[in-house]
């Protein structure tokens, strides 16, 4: 039996193909890990029987030499992906009993590629949050703790269950979704790798919608290579999503190992924030040094509209959310609270079903779209989005990728930021620009702070150039040699 404490997705894939291990054995081991880690609250639904059934079928295909990209590999799925016959709640009471009768395109493709699903992963309600504290099913506890402290920390969010599950080694990889940083920020603070691909790379069909012009699915796993393998299976054009790109998917794994010699890495000066913790500053400088050592040319670039990205996001995202979430009305599916008339039924069902942050965003979104305010807020934000996208276009005339920190701080304590929405929103200050411009971004674990908590570096690429991010991400991974692991205190 392979050592689960060091096993990677790529390692498991290779061992499965060489028949060193069976998917059933591997899956059985991970099911035990999942059961032993319920204190983390990472999984909201465990599917051990389904997992073993999928593993048995994977073993049959392996023995016939018909292995898919993810054949026999046990993974976790964020509870935002509709999974046929398996409850899908989006972290919300309003979908508390929702059992899809269809499969999202991304999970369909992963299962067709042989993946084994261990269960569904906790998340911020409707992916609205940066700490996994807005989940209707309670917060996820990070496997990481500050040195010498038992204070429970957040795993980041909104893909907090995914980050915690991978980091605690409850699965070999997990799906995430990223609307403003929800893959990269939790990956960074949980010491794992995560990539938000280009808008349109993965189909959004069957993923519960938050903000449709920003949402993208992506993988979260231990290594850059693991993410490349997962993204391969998740990507591709889907006629069921009109914004899915009809562009061929390159061999992402093949990009790894090519290095960055002669490539140009841009450092956006606007990401140097006032009052940025010195540990983040130092990590960034270290990343620049690693790139230079690997033969890249590092140049300064300017993204002048960076400071407007987060406020613009908090108009665009709630506006789209208020529209997307109009479908939850207590009639066709989801929670229903009876009322005196049909309007009363809608209002009561939605008030009972949506949590506080979701309600706040629905109200903001409705307000900025309402008559008399549309031009002042929504239209202005969409114009600023044009400026932000233009900033990136101009920067990419001078360089092949950008290097920034992923998150402005390491993981914080549960409850520390819940009273102040804006301080919570600031967690996404380095990631949200990428969503507004539709670009790919990867976060790679690069070090720990003086309390032993993980920190990540982000690489941002041109549209549909994830391959460069995998190449350069591997350079950071090799240079950082990130070996820190959380103590298994939850076992």
């Amino acid at each position: 039996m392979s050592d689960l404490a060091t096993l990677t997705l790529a390692g498991a894939r290779d061992a499965l193909r060489r028949k060193k291990i069976s998917s059933r054995e591997l899956t059985t081991s991970f099911i035990k890990e999942v059961e032993g880690a319920r204190g983390l609250n990472a999984f909201v639904t465990e599917t051990p029987e389904l997992a073993l059934d999928m593993a048995t079928r994977a073993d049959a295909r392996l023995s016939r030499g018909e292995a898919g990209i993810l054949e026999g590999v046990p993974l976790g799925i964020k509870d935002l992906f509709c999974t046929k016959g398996v409850k899908t709640t989006a972290g919300s009471k309003i979908l508390g009993n929702f059992v899809p009768t269809y499969e999202s395109t991304v999970t369909r493709q992963m299962f067709d590629a042989g993946a084994v699903m261990l269960g569904k992963l906790n998340m911020d309600e409707f992916a609205m949050g940066s700490s996994n504290e807005t989940s209707a099913w309670g917060p996820v506890i990070s496997p990481w703790r500050r040195k010498g402290s038992n204070t429970p920390l957040v795993p980041g969010g909104s893909s907090g269950g995914s980050a915690a599950a991978v980091s605690a080694r409850l699965c070999l990889g997990a799906t995430g979704t990223d609307t403003g940083g929800s893959i990269r920020q939790p990956a960074a603070v949980a010491g794992i790798t995560g990539i938000k691909p280009t808008y349109g790379r993965c189909s959004r069909w069957g993923i519960v919608a938050f903000a449709s012009s920003l949402d993208q699915a992506g993988p979260m796993a231990h290594t850059v290579r693991d993410c490349a393998i997962m993204l391969q299976a998740m990507s591709g054009h889907d006629p069921k999503d009109s914004t899915s790109a009809p562009i061929a998917v390159p061999d992402f794994e093949a990009a790894i190992g090519k290095g960055v010699k002669g490539m140009r890495v841009g450092i956006p000066k606007e990401y140097r924030l006032d009052g940025m913790p010195s540990e983040i500053e130092a990590l960034w400088a270290q990343g620049i040094a690693w790139m230079k050592d690997a033969g890249a040319e590092v140049i300064d670039v300017s993204l002048p509209h960076t400071k407007y990205a987060l406020p613009a996001y908090y108009i665009v995202a709630p506006a789209e959310a208020s529209s997307n979430l109009a479908r939850y009305d207590g009639v066709r599916y989801g929670l229903r609270v009876n009322g005196d008339d049909v309007i009363d039924l809608y209002e009561k069902s939605r008030a009972a079903g949506f949590g506080r942050e979701v309600q706040r965003r629905i109200l903001i979104g409705t307000y900025v779209l309402s008559a008399g305010y549309y031009d002042a807020y929504y239209l202005r934000a969409q114009k600023i989005r044009t400026l932000i996208a233009r900033d990136f276009e101009q920067a990419f005339e001078k360089c092949d990728m950008l290097l920034t920190p992923t998150s402005p701080s390491p993981a914080f304590g549960i409850g520390e930021k819940t009273d102040d929405p804006i301080s919570m929103y600031l967690n996404d200050v380095f990631t949200v620009t990428v969503n507004l411009a539709g670009l790919p971004g990867i976060s790679v674990p690069a070090g720990v702070n003086n309390e032993g908590l993980p920190l990540g570096l982000q690489l941002i690429g041109r549209a549909f150039d994830e391959a460069t991010l995998f190449r350069a991400g591997q350079v950071i991974e090799d240079a950082a040699a990130f070996k820190a692991r959380p103590d298994s205190w939850w076992k």
Binding site: V99, T101, Y199, G200, S213, P239, S242, T243, S244, A245, P246, H305, Y308, P311, A312, Y314, I315, S322, A326, D329, V331, R332, Y333, G334, L335, R336, N338, D340, D341, V342, I343, D344, L345, E347, K348, R350, A351, F354, Q359, R360, I362, L363, I364, T366, Y367, S370, Y373, A376, L379, R380, A381, Q382, K383, R385, T386, L387, P421, I422, G438, A463
Partner: protein, 95 residues
């Protein structure tokens, strides 16, 4: 621009969200904090800037205008909170 209780009540009505009376004032406060923060977008001159309408630089895909799905009434009803036969139910809307 700032919102008062009356505006929150109106917006909540538009959003079909029951907000209890005692939550109107605190909610107005929360929304005002966020709106005050996004005010900084007013600093920028955006006169000659086109709004972004599509993040991906591609023409929206078209598909053949044909029926490609259907006959799944049972599936559609499966998650209905209060269905009668193959009908969704709501309180009486016409006398």
């Amino acid at each position: 621009m700032s919102v008062d209780e009356k505006t929150v009540r109106k917006v909540a009505k538009l959003a079909r969200l029951a907000v209890p009376e005692e939550r109107l004032a605190p909610m107005a406060g929360e929304l005002n904090k966020i709106l005050a923060w996004v005010e900084q977008l007013g600093e920028l001159d955006i006169k000659n800037v086109e709004p972004m309408t599509s993040v991906a630089k591609m023409r929206l895909m078209r598909r053949a205008d044909v029926v490609n799905d259907g006959n799944i009434a049972d599936d559609l009803m499966k998650n209905a909170p209060n269905a009668i036969d193959n009908y969704f139910t709501v309180p009486k809307v016409v006398e």
